[in-house]
Symmetry: C2
Subunit: 333 residues, 2 copies
Amino acid sequence: MINTPYLLFLGDAPDMLAAKVAIGIRDWRPENALGQIRLPGCGADLGLADLTLEEAKAAGAKTVVIGVANRGGVISAAWKEVLVKALEMGFDLASGLHNLLRDEGDLVAAAQTYGGTLHDVRVPTVGYPIANGIKRSGKRCLAVGTDCSVGKMYTAMAMEAEMTARGMKATFRATGQTGILITGHGVPLDAVVADFMAGSVEYLTPDNDPEHWDMIEGQGSLFHVSYSGVTLALIHGGQPDALILSHEPTREHMRGLPGYALPTLEQLRDAALPLARVSNPACQVAGVAVNTQHMDEVEARVYLDKVEAEMGLPATDPYRFGSGTLVDALAAI
Amino acid sequence: MINTPYLLFLGDAPDMLAAKVAIGIRDWRPENALGQIRLPGCGADLGLADLTLEEAKAAGAKTVVIGVANRGGVISAAWKEVLVKALEMGFDLASGLHNLLRDEGDLVAAAQTYGGTLHDVRVPTVGYPIANGIKRSGKRCLAVGTDCSVGKMYTAMAMEAEMTARGMKATFRATGQTGILITGHGVPLDAVVADFMAGSVEYLTPDNDPEHWDMIEGQGSLFHVSYSGVTLALIHGGQPDALILSHEPTREHMRGLPGYALPTLEQLRDAALPLARVSNPACQVAGVAVNTQHMDEVEARVYLDKVEAEMGLPATDPYRFGSGTLVDALAAI
């Protein structure tokens, strides 16, 4: 667990694209985002208060979260100056960078001296069990994609928000570093050792109230040859009661795999549902989440209507048109 | 690569069941098995010459392989006496035990002093890439099972032996510790970090002669919720041209998962083939390998005939009746 609330460190991010993690925290857990801290030349702005470390401390911030990608895989001297001072002042640090906080001697030394914690959320900190397949109480929903990066995390986040607003019990369960930083906990599934992948998902989504929904963050795709094993571990460890099919209709090939065509939504359904029913025979496909960012509104509406008719399922772009119809479908399960 | 030939260390194994690794080496790579070394009370006997370390050295053995499971997860003082002496004499050590050679201070010290290598084959030693999905030359065969431990490794080994005997080009590719110790190389797939699983299989089965077959050792099952992600990484990283369906017909539930029924061979085919065709559209199911050890010969023959008729595929028990019909099927691809 990462202590909240956060001060979001934007460093010298050249633009908003580099600040994806910070944007996710601001959008999905605004109560965790007390303010931002920026270095000279920073081209990103979250629209939050610019706070000094002292001001953030006074406001109750507990952890400085590195909310940006860094350049060239190094944590620069300019960054270090702020981060070491934050540790001296009693903050914890949290990061999803590939280069780890724990590999930086000055950060380790300051953390030890001042009693702070360095959270490298890409690295598992738990000895996960091997999955036992025992049926757990409570309900679970998992988004499975035709490809990577089609909006699975966003869909789960949006549905969790809608469910909470309706008074349903729902918890987003993070399986990637962005989701872990946003919520403060989770499993960095892509860094878990093979034998323990499904077990880590069981660990992440334990027994719960019968009417509670775990909204599990999806990863990869059954059709993406680089990461499909991670996806299947999520399906089998997660024991989903409901699958949401996620798709980006304008993509020309699988992400990072020229020559690999995306599957159709029907192919995705036909591959995922029988596998999901191995661990949860009651699993059903509840709806379709489409990322329509590269379509105009008319195109998007026409496409969604077509998917609804063809698949016999509610279809929406949760970002553009809300996730209400998907949540309606879960509520009916 | 582990240096061969081996001296097989049987320790104080209570019985032959504990000597599975040593039996595998003797059966599949007899040229690597120069002899055995046993401690007082050893209840296992491979039928090989009992050699002292000195005799094994004189005969050209390069590595002492721990060919047995140990008790209680400790490497005993009695074992250590032999293993340290082996290092002093210039042997390497190789082990697939959960408790690692490298965690034993006296073995590490002796290895450093005398220049020997400690091979813990459960631990990856290579920084594997993320899979790129690029089509590789040469042919590949993968056994996929209805369950774990249904004879997938044995099937690949038996087929490799038959293919070699026929003058076909074939290489067994180990993905588990037993296979790695038998052949001296491979990828310990269950210990690879999730993101790199499929990439490690690509690494294991590189470009080859067009008519060469990699016989890839299968792991887990698409229907085994604890390990299915490993299986799918094998399917997508391996780009198999041919799948062999592996089955043990008398098993009452999935291994270690009471309440989980085994899938039928049809269900296995219908799940595995579409997924395999993602990375290799030409993939086909070539045959069925059945482990009939719990059936008498008449039962086994009747069962295999039934499977052949129902599946329209050659079906055999490679251990009991040979793998010739499966190899015929590969030769026709």
